[in-house]
Symmetry: C2
Subunit: 197 residues, 2 copies
């Protein structure tokens, strides 16, 4: 096994949806180990002076993004029903993802993305998070961990670690030799890099 490649995912990020659905399968093809790290883009955007998603600040980019993600999902045969508003508040969901064991995160994250962008559900709603836990074979009662101070702290630390590695968007991929790759478009490139270096 080479790598590992760290997959930095923000649960409210549109392009992280197709990336999450493909990441482990593409890594396995290449014999590359993976690490799934939930983080939040909000604090990184705020540091940049943005109070909301750039897709809201720049409506032309927002319109393009939805059409682009729709085309990507169609090509991958992924269900696509956008949620009522963007960005969704991903704080509680990210805390629950942080509370899970590393091995449980991928299935939970994929369930969250499918609920949000495949079925149009609100991820700030605890019922959605509980449903994702259920679908990924976990106890829905785990949502209580979202209020755990230790978890809140661990998530803040993940944001700092992401920033320290230059992460400014999602999804992002980092390699042990310090390379950063940004976007669903760079998923294969990041894995190929890790396999070759």
């Amino acid at each position: 096994m080479s790598g590992p490649v760290t997959f930095w995912f923000e649960l409210a990020s549109t392009y992280s949806y197709p990336a999450a659905m493909r990441f482990d399968a593409e890594a396995e093809k290449r014999g590359v180990a993976t690490i799934w790290r939930p983080f939040l883009l909000g604090p990184i955007f705020v540091a940049r002076g943005w109070s909301t998603s750039p897709f809201n600040i720049y409506p032309d980019k927002g319109r393009y993004m939805w059409r682009d993600v729709q085309r990507i999902c169609a090509a991958l045969e992924l269900p696509f029903t956008p949620p009522p508003n963007l960005p969704q508040n991903s704080l509680s969901a990210a805390r629950v993802a942080t509370a899970l064991d590393a091995a449980e995160r991928p299935a939970f994250a994929r369930a969250m993305y499918t609920l949000q962008f495949g079925e149009g559900r609100d991820i700030a709603d605890f019922a959605t998070i509980e449903e994702a836990l259920r679908r990924s074979g976990r106890d829905p009662d785990l949502t209580r961990r979202a209020r755990d101070d230790q978890i809140k702290h661990a998530l803040r630390q993940a944001v700092e670690e992401a920033q320290a590695q230059g992460v400014f968007g999602a999804p992002s991929f980092t390699t042990p030799d310090g390379e950063l790759f940004w976007g669903n478009d760079r998923l294969e490139t990041a894995l190929d890099w890790a396999a070759a270096h």
Copy 2:
């Protein structure tokens, strides 16, 4: 032949360099006709409230972009020597590209990109534009067309046409059925789309 796919290129755009070097070859593989349209991102960025490149406004994104373009050029075996500053002033070069016949634009544009990002030359310098004309088999004296009112007007119209089609970045690709694709990463997707629709 299907298409045509219109390739909207901004001569100061970093990601347009690898796109310009690949576009015609990838189109030919798929039997898709191409149209090369020079335009300017400056007026589009100004309309968005930006006075310079987003890669300057957001330094983390700028650092990432240079490394990303370097990796892309390495993978394509394209020479890579960044120019002294970003963005270069592409106004005169874009006017000369506008003045050329459609069939002459690709070779001129490729020469301009190679001079700028492969050899680190300043594209606002008329000597660079003359060299690109020479390398693409044209008369270097054509730079005088950059002062032609008709050409200035045609370039302004190209910017308006690009905006009307939703273009907000470069490179962009548009198809006869109204699809917009943004970025060097979408070059193949745009051509595949045109070949299939």
